[in-house]
Amino acid sequence: MLVHSRGGRWAVWIVFFALFLPVFALPFLVIMVASFATSWSGAFPSGMTLGHYQELTKGDSPHALLTSLVTALVASLAALAIGTWAALGAEALRRRGRRVVDALFMLPVAVPSVVVGLSLLVAFSKPPLLLNGTSTIVITAHTVLVTAFAYQSVAAALTRLDPAYEQSAASLGARPSYVLWRVKLPLLLPSLTAAAGLCFALSMGELSATMMLYPPNWVPLPVTIFGATDRGALFTGAALAVVLMASTLLVLFAVSRIRNRASYR
């Protein structure tokens, strides 16, 4: 404990709740409540109903959820593969080379995602790489955006990995590929799943680049939410947002279960 006096501790708790509740917790609560409301004019909503959720089972919403899940799953797995590969490759480089790779993978984070979306749109609008209007371009954009995070978490985990494991394995006669699959990747598994979870969550919520690129048959959930609120269907939008939150959290929870089982020592 950093704060020792009882009064000091109370003060810290009060400051924490004063900041945390209105900024972090209350908005989520409001969304949840709004998703059940039919009108909200006073301090509290009224006309509680499950109607918005019933609406969601019809129409485009189930497809939008599926689209988001598939996009996020494919993008995060691709990002994990690329990021891990790049991090393993960068590890073997000298300091300057590694810095270049680090900078390269930081680029999609540094550049606004709208710009990433636009640049992909411009780049892939003409043959031979005509991806405009396909689901591939959306998934590609998501992959580009989240690979940076996968790369960074795996690179950080690699620097923490004691080289003695790799060396012991090699001295026992294991070829580099055998060491990679049987020692390095299993030891990195907790970090890999954490990275995958992060990528998945980021991709599930991605809107700005997606808005530049999505074709009519591949509309992810955030775009649907934006559409609903844009045309004034605030409570429907809230219900969609709750579905998006819940499904993301569910997947993250499942991933964290794997991570707990995979963490050693």
Binding site: S168, S171, G173, V183, Y264
Partner: protein
Amino acid sequence: MGIRFDSVTVRYGDNTVLDSLDLTVEPGEVMALLGPSGSGKTTALRAVAGFVTPAAGRVLIGGRDVTALPPHRRGIGMVVQQYALFPHLRVEQNVAFGLKARKVPRARIAERVSEALRMTGMERYARRYPRELSGGQQQRVAIARALAIRPGVLLLDEPLSALDAQLRSGMLAELARLHRELPDVSILYVTHDQIEALTLADRIAVMDKARLQDCGTPQDLYRRPRTEFTASFVGNANLLPVTVIGDAVRFGGTELKVPVDGIAPGAAATLCVRPHLVGLGEGPNALRGTVAEVQWRGATHRVFVDIDGHQIKADVRELRTPPALGQQVAVHFATQDAVLLGAGVADG
């Protein structure tokens, strides 16, 4: 299988961490590389394992030049300080790792794993994970893992330094027994602990400042060190600057009878006497001074005596009435217990 270092030099940038090492470990021999940290001893071991590439020179294992071979093709067993057991594998899987990597037939793997675990007394722990074992048990598994591949050469890098003192002496005896069971395995044992080196090694190579300083049997290095560094690093030593006069030496105003071994009269030399060979009181080769410090060490007393600005340590059987600080005393040593080191003079 023997190991030979043929003028092996290792550099990190401009920094030479191993300077043209020439050393041969005979088949079946236990060679200790003894030295302080930064002396190049671990670098020498890593050059054998293949984790550092020499800037010059060759490393030979069993007469074969392995300098350019990657680590996994060298056929050595290695145990490192922190054991590096694979935390995601059970004990038996750890021990089987090298065999699987070498594609040994499955039936043979089981046989060799149980043999290695039996030799190290770890059969009962085969199903455990490393995190469920104590430090000493992890150490045994690390040794079993290295032995399972039946290496001709075993490299041990400070293998006991993570254990507490009591466990360490037990493991030393254990290592000695293992080597008796595997008389053909050459062992290169890196340590900074002289007791480990003296107990276990057939020969000791003393390293300092990236260079081999001395090499010989433990008895040889202890009784007849050739350099001041060896004298002070292998066991304790009193080092006194002296001048050779005929068949004796002069220290301050006192003439001392010691074996001169052909050092020219008039030459400066260093006299080395082990503290436990120094007696308190009058005798041959007596030196007089004042008591500067008395340490009680259970079975012995260590008495520090100031003589003409130099300090002499005497380890004597526990005294009923130890001398008081500042008291005038004499210390002495037998002629055959002194060694004269040829080179320059430094104040011990």
